[in-house]
Every structure is written in C-alpha cells, then in structure tokens.
Symmetry: C2
Subunit: 239 residues, 2 copies
DNA sequence: GCAGAAAATGTAACGCGTTCTACCTCTCGA
DNA sequence: TCGAGAGGTAGAACGCGTTACATTTTCTGC
C-alpha cells in the first residue's frame, strides 16, 4: 500500500471543482479548462508514529476485508490486528464505514498512480479506457471479498463521508481522463468522463450484489464508452 | 401504497431478460425486441391475512424511514408499529435491509405505474424523460429521509437481495423506455436506457450522501440523456 | 529534565440487528 | 370435530458497532 506519497496521480495543470451549471448542452461552448479541488489525501499531516498507526489500521482492515468481506471487518479485530486499542481506531476513523471508504480511496489512488504514467495499449481513447477497465476488473475478480466490503461501504456511506467520496470521484475522473489521453479537461470532457464513472460505479454495485459478472460489466462499459467518446469526437470535429 | 395489482407497469408486448452479449456495437444490428424476465411482484401469493401483515410491516418501515431515515427504521419499532411480533417481521423479511429494498421496489413500481399510462409533456424522448425525472426528484426532495434510507439500503444490499434489485432495474428501465415513447425495446434501446438508469442511480447515491443537490443531479441527467438519445436518433437514421 | 496536555490503552457498557426458545392460536384436512 | 402443524407471540440472549471512562504512556514547550 503506497499512496502515501504526495498524490502524483494525474497532472492536469489545474482542475478545480466545477460549480453551478457545469453541464453544457451546446457543442460549441467555449473550451475552458476547469480546475480541481484540492481534496486532501487522507492521513497526510500526521506525525510519523501516528501515520504508522493510521496505516496499520487501514492495512488491518484491508486484510480482514480480503479474508471475509464486509462482515469480517470487525472493529475489535481491526484493533487487535493493527496492534492498537479499540478507542484508537475510533480516534482515527469515526466509523467502520469511513475506515473502509478511506481504504477504497487509497486503493484507487494506487490504481490511478499505476496507470497514470504508463502508456496504455490502444490507439483510441476508447481502447485505452477499456484497457484500464479490463485491468481493474481483473483485480476485482482476484479479490472479490475485499471489493465486496469496500464497494458496499462506499455505497452505504452517509453525508459524513462526503469528502472521501468526492475524492473517490475525483480519482476516478482523472483516471479515465488520463487513460483517454486528454490534456485539457473541459466541461464537456468532464461530463463525458463522469458518465463513464457513473456507469462504472453502477457496474461495480451490481457485480458486488452478484447480479452481473465482470464480463457483463465490461461489456456494458464498452457500450457506454463507445457512446460517450463517439459524441466527444463529433463535438471536436464541429469545432 | 398500491402496487399490489398485477404489475401493470408498462406494456411492451414482450420484454425478456437479455443474456450473453446484450451489448451491441454495430449501429446496424438487427432490430430485435428482447423479452422481459418475469420477476415476481414481492408479496403476492400470500393469504389475505398474511398479505395484510406483510403490507403493514412495509408501511411501518416506510413511515419510520420518513420520520428518521435509515437509523430510525429499527426492527423492534417496525414490529411494534405494524402490530406484529419481532419474530414475525423476520419471518417475512430476512433482514432490515431487504425490508427496505422491497419498500423501494414497491415505491418505484408505483411511480412507474403513475407515469406508465399518462401522456407526458414534451415532444422529444429527451424532454419526456426529463419530465419524469423532474417529477421524481420533487418526490425525493419532499421525503429526503425516506429516500436516504431506501437508497442506502439498496446500495448496501448484498447478493441475497439480487432478485429485488433486478426487479428494481427492470422497473427503472421500463419507466425510462416508456417515457421515451419506445414501443419496441431493442438491445440498443436497452443499452441506452441502462446507461441512463446507471447515471440516475449514481446521482441518487451522491444526492443521498449530500454531495450533490437535486439540481446538480438533474443537470447531469440532462447531459446524459442528451448524449444517449442523440446517439439513438442517429442510429435510427442510418438504418 | 519536567509539568501539563494530548494520545493511547483496557475494559465496561449500551443499542440495535438478529437468533433462539417456549408457548400459544389459528387453519385445514381426515 | 378434532388434532397436528404452520404461523404468531413475547421475551431473553448474542454479536458487534459505538461510546464512555479511568488509567497509563507519550509528546511538547519551557
């Protein structure tokens, strides 16, 4: 578990939270990059000993989740495995659910990091995005219980996890935009990528709930990506 | 709470569960209607007295959710309010979560029923779908706590609720397809509508988690619907 | 170094989902 | 009509998330 670094991720000069009417109907809207909100990386700004505890707790949660899914992540077990008192776990994470959400964020950051610099196979945005997705899906498949726990936690999260979930969306968005090879993130691109991220989340949920196989999810994603990038390509031509 | 009837919903001559490679890349794929799986309406096939209990339990859950959200739906309170023993609640519903998922399904069925026959305002599929969405969003807004509870339950559901969640997807799909005024549900249409449903679910989740206002959700939906139906329209021209 | 504050520990306790048990009450077929 | 079995009831009990608290350890500023 790295992701402890300074958030390399993707390096759009400046993405920033879009606000108000970020949705754009007109194909010929001005091309204007948007900047990204500086959602803090969780667990930074801690002193070394504390940071170590923090990461040990997350690691314990991750292991327990891997072994037995959501239910196996019991706070007493997390405390014991990370060599920390129960109260300490709660000092760092206000709830089991938040702990799992943070764990998910860190993992996604790792993934984004991994795919961030690499040149992906594929000539088109569509192909490259699908390459990322296929890679991700493989990871999901290989740790079904882990992702069952993490995805369900993310979906169950209430308003108190809003910041972490925003960060999650951010990471996903950047991951896809990067895979697509987009340098300037316009509002159109943002919309497109968000739709893909939405379909991806929905796919994860139905995979977790046992309603779709990963192949189903991939197939549906392929449709969605085709749709969205087809449109995007046409928009760019018109311009 | 009606939805006790014989599933009027929408009346596509025959929708059926798609299977295998339901995603279609080629715009000129054969136009072939798909049929729908006969997911049972929950709670049918019960004797009158039992059906009454069943519905009282759901109604109690719904009320409690309205009053205080997910946490306020306590199984002991549900039992008390519905005038039934705790064990009986568990005889009908294997868990709190399933109870809430079933409640959500029934509500969505009501909505689908309401919009099913009505002629919706708007000349295009896009406008009619947005009309449905705006109506739904209004209902969400007016019962925030209720939908907080129900949506979070649906998202948290594990494999044991797969059937109910499938039913939910089915209802949503039919709702949108109907709003769009589509009579023949081809695979292309199914894909399109699914993407919309996915974006809708994602929107619900971020609304529930306090990360987006309903206006944000509506705006994003508008983008997504434009995208999807734009493509659909072009596909039909090429044919 | 050292006093005081902050953080960590160990453990008990509480609330609620879920399960279990013992008993009661319908319903329905012989 | 009756008796057996499914279904219902009341309430105790268990597990785990979460909180509270008294005590000890670690940090920080002087």
């Amino acid at each position: 578990m790295s992701a402890t670094g300074a958030l390399p991720l993707l390096n759009y000069p400046g993405l920033e939270a879009m606000e108000g009417d970020w949705m754009t109907e007109e194909p010929n809207a001005e091309v204007r990059p948007v900047k990204r909100s500086a959602t803090a990386v969780p667990g930074a700004d801690l002193k070394p000993a504390q940071r170590a505890r923090y990461l040990r707790i997350i690691e314990a949660a991750r292991q327990l989740a891997s072994e037995g899914g959501y239910d196996a992540v019991q706070m007493r077990a997390v405390a014991e495995r990370s060599g920390v008192a129960l109260g300490t776990v709660y000092r760092y994470f206000p709830s089991k659910n938040q702990l799992l959400v943070v764990t998910l964020v860190l993992i996604f950051e790792e993934v984004a990091e991994r795919f961030g610099g690499a040149d992906l196979p594929g000539d088109t945005a569509h192909e490259r995005i699908m390459a990322v997705l296929r890679g991700s899906v493989q990871q999901l498949e290989s740790e079904r219980k882990l992702y069952d726990a993490l995805v369900r936690a993310a979906m169950f999260a209430d308003a108190s996890s809003a910041a972490e979930l925003d960060r999650l969306g951010e990471v996903l968005t950047e991951l896809f935009a990067n895979a697509a090879g987009i340098e300037t993130v316009t509002e159109e691109v943002l919309n497109a990528v968000r739709i893909i991220a939405d379909v991806w989340m929905a796919g994860l949920v139905s995979w977790v709930a046992g309603r779709q196989s990963v192949d189903d999810v991939i197939a549906h994603m392929d449709t969605a990506v085709a749709l969205v990038f087809d449109r995007l390509a046409r928009l760019q031509q018109t311009r």
